[in-house]
Symmetry: C2
Subunit: 303 residues, 2 copies
């Protein structure tokens, strides 16, 4: 039977991205885009593509439509090496699609997303079997109805759950309770706990379950908190084209580091910062993702 | 040899459209799109698709890349029945792509366009031969280097030139000089002539060459001016989803009316108003285009 390093259960979207000097209002003059790209997106799915490109064995659990976007996303997984056999394709379903306007020079984004029209993803016996083989389950809070069972299977088999928390949602407490490693967006710890201080907020989050809380800080890198230590890991300065997928690439790269025998936490975080920065050099959530050799070269040249 | 009712020389773009309650700024909260669509666009090319769907024999003259957008646009022409044999496909070229955010409820648009990276379209001998057979040449001001020769061929063979003028550009005077029928966007006559009054501005435009000037007025229909008469033709009220392509559909339908034996100018304009209105009922520049039977039923029900 196939064994997996990481199985992802979460969101996948079809992204259309343009670089613009500014955003024009309704009925305003047409703005010339400097560049345009079509790329796959979504937190868990882009993290899986990151992992696959780095060399990990991954599979995606989720639903897609058989529409143009669904076909594109399926092909993107397949060509990246993410196992697609557990994806549920809905005839007549509509896959999620996002329009992303990226500010020239800063890479800041204006995001508009169509959520799609798809049935809930439900675990099948082959998917459960795959989960039993996985070292990590990666979640972004989508497909909430399947999260508890998937996490229970992974825990039972000795694996761990990594949760990408972007903003508090109704089911966030339930997900935190089954999370081993929380990687949070910059605003999440304070938004969820109400505590301004990041160290204190991270400790409050650990009370829910996680034994490691990492908060991503954009170009400033990340902040790691365990029961025994806490430290900031500075980011890398690169010419930023587009920040889309930077966080997702960080998650994928961080899990890749966790998979490696003996990597210290600081080095894992530094590796993830590097992959996130490298991914900002191209337009699109996945276009700038590096191979392992490329990250190693980047880290050597940054020393 | 193939004969054509209308040959179009102009712009073609790949449009990605989303319906949004509002536009979010850079770094703002993600906005949920109510719907998303992928459709072909561009003034002349959408007019040709309109004509083909109504039953006219059409061909498009222009360049496309062999990228994902170019393949989509080529297929869209082919499936609509527009002859694609004169399209120049550039290996490695990038086709134009636009991101269109459409305001929920009003159909007003915020447009951002990537102009593509393609060589200039150049007339070939088969394209010249096709032009000799055409009753109308439709222009939108793109491919300006080829316009004079194409118009000369059509005129020599007894055909007429219809120009879709959206806004004044450097070569607009040259195009007006070889234009028989000008169909202008609402702002064009005043923007070009500096004259506020639409009748007077239309007459000034006729001094450049056109013997008929039609100005589209959105939901208010259109205003027609000839050397001997002038009149307003009211538009049709429909539930507007998206105004993308409304003007282009008007142009195509207007030329379709010109092709019909004995249609009075007022009826042609009313027919074009109907097609433009019908096209606003769907998201996308071409998604709402009707067949001739559908327009006839619409006009009957509107009486």
């Amino acid at each position: 039977m196939e064994r997996y390093d990481v199985i992802g259960l979460g969101y996948c979207s079809d992204d259309y991205l343009g670089i613009v000097p500014h955003i024009t209002p309704f009925d305003g003059d047409t703005v010339t885009m400097l560049d345009f790209a079509h790329d796959g997106g979504g937190p868990v799915s882009t993290a899986l593509v990151t992992l696959a490109k780095l060399g990990a064995r991954t599979a995606y659990l989720g639903a897609l439509g058989d529409d143009e976007s669904g076909q594109f996303l399926l092909q993107a997984f397949a060509s990246a090496g993410v196992d697609t056999r557990f994806i549920q394709i809905q005839a007549g379903g509509r896959s999620p699609s996002c329009i992303v306007l990226v500010e020239e020079g800063t890479g800041r984004r204006s995001i508009h997303c169509f959520r799609g029209q798809l049935p809930l993803y439900s675990l099948t016996e082959p998917a459960r079997e795959a989960l039993r083989s996985a070292r990590f389950l990666h979640l972004d809070g989508h497909s909430p109805h399947a999260i508890a069972e998937a996490a229970a299977i992974v825990h039972e088999a000795g694996g761990q759950v990594v949760f990408d928390a972007n903003r508090p949602r109704p089911h966030t407490p339930d997900v935190l309770k089954i999370t081993d490693i929380l990687i949070a967006a910059e605003r999440f710890p304070t938004a969820f706990t109400g505590v301004e201080d990041l160290l204190e907020a991270s400790r409050r989050l650990m009370d829910w379950g996680p034994r490691l809380v990492v908060t991503t800080l954009g170009s400033n890198g990340c902040f790691c908190v365990t029961p025994t230590e806490h430290f900031h890991v500075p980011g890398f300065s690169v010419p930023v084209v587009d920040t889309t997928g930077a966080g997702d690439a960080f998650h994928g790269a961080f899990i890749f580091g966790l998979l490696q025998p003996g990597w210290p936490l600081y080095e894992i975080a530094r590796f993830a910062n590097a992959v996130a920065a490298m991914n900002c050099r191209r337009l699109g959530g996945r276009a700038g993702l590096p191979t392992l050799a490329e990250v190693q070269a980047f880290l050597r040249s940054a020393q």
